[in-house]
Amino acid sequence: MPSLAVMASKKEVPQELSTAPFDPRFPNQNQTRYCWQSYVDYHRCRKLKGEDYAPCDYFRKCYESLCPFAWVEKWDTQREENRFPGKI
């Protein structure tokens, strides 16, 4: 991920800023699918590799950066109630 080192003086300040990188699967202005796919991939990854598998966090980082909070909350509720439309 691209990053920018930040001259940080206080302890809790993040040492670098980073966000979801450009993904060639989603080259257009419409990034809806990038957000959705990252969300699905994260939960698929955790289902396959277990909850503590660190590389899955890449997908979480992506969907957290891109998806509006309201969307994620809605999808979380749908998953809890077993009515999420995507295949996880």
Binding site: T19, A20, P21, Q29, N30, S65, L66
Partner: protein, 228 residues
């Protein structure tokens, strides 16, 4: 923002807007030359009293007035397309912000490091306050670090809106259920103003956008305070 007697584009605050202004001036020069030429042709045909009754065709002239406009158009399309693709490009964004249009305010989300969200409502105009602009100020500014590439995700919660900052050369439609991406780099500190640019209902004119461009250190301080 535009102040009194500002008849042209606003001063740019990003490299893309700089290029857009250059393109505007370039195209303006071409249209001025065409206008002058056409006016001259019209004037000379009206004033001219000589008539050639035997002139039925002018192949060379027709060829010229076909090829010359084509070449002129090429000189407009080439820089135009270059800019279009340049604006579409995402050059390794440092951070992503999300903006969501509501009836009638914008809300913003920062979620790359800490999760921060806030609403940005217009502050009512105080007539005697000389330091504020009418219908352009908001209670919460979108604070952003300058000199860094920022991706913005634009969407809406209810109806169509449009997120616009003229001095950054950005205008992106906010559509419910869809995430539109745009990006920019602010090259100077200051306050940048914009307004909703898609008719969205009764208070469409009263949901302005204010960006506060600061240094990266100040930005970190600001977001740290917000997340506490």
């Amino acid at each position: 923002m535009t102040t009194w007697s500002c008849m042209n584009l606003q001063d740019s605050a990003s490299p893309i807007m700089e290029q857009l202004i250059f393109f505007h001036d370039h195209t303006m020069m071409i249209i001025t030359m065409i206008l002058a030429m056409v006016l001259y042709f019209m004037a000379s045909t009206i004033i001219n009293e000589l008539v050639d009754r035997y002139m039925l065709e002018g192949q060379t002239m027709e060829l010229m007035w076909t090829i010359v406009p084509a070449v002129i158009l090429l000189f407009i399309t080439t820089p135009s397309l270059r800019l279009l693709y340049l604006m579409d490009e995402i050059h390794n964004p440092i951070m992503t912000i999300k903006t969501i249009g509501h009836q009638w305010y914008w809300s913003y989300e920062y979620s790359d490091f800490v999760n921060v969200e806030f609403d940005s409502y217009m502050t009512p105009y105080e007539g005697d306050n000389k330091s504020m602009f009418r219908l352009l100020e908001t209670d919460n500014h979108v604070t952003l670090p300058m000199h860094s590439f920022i991706r913005i995700i634009v969407t809406a919660a209810d109806v169509l809106h449009s997120w616009t900052i003229p001095s950054l050369g950005i205008k992106a439609d906010a559509t419910p259920g869809r995430l539109n991406q745009s990006s920019f780099m602010i090259n100077r500190p200051g306050l940048l103003y914009g307004q909703c640019s898609e008719i969205c209902g009764a208070n469409h004119s009263f949901m302005p956008i204010v960006i506060e461009s600061v240094s990266t250190e100040n930005f970190i301080e600001w977001i740290k305070k917000l997340s506490e």
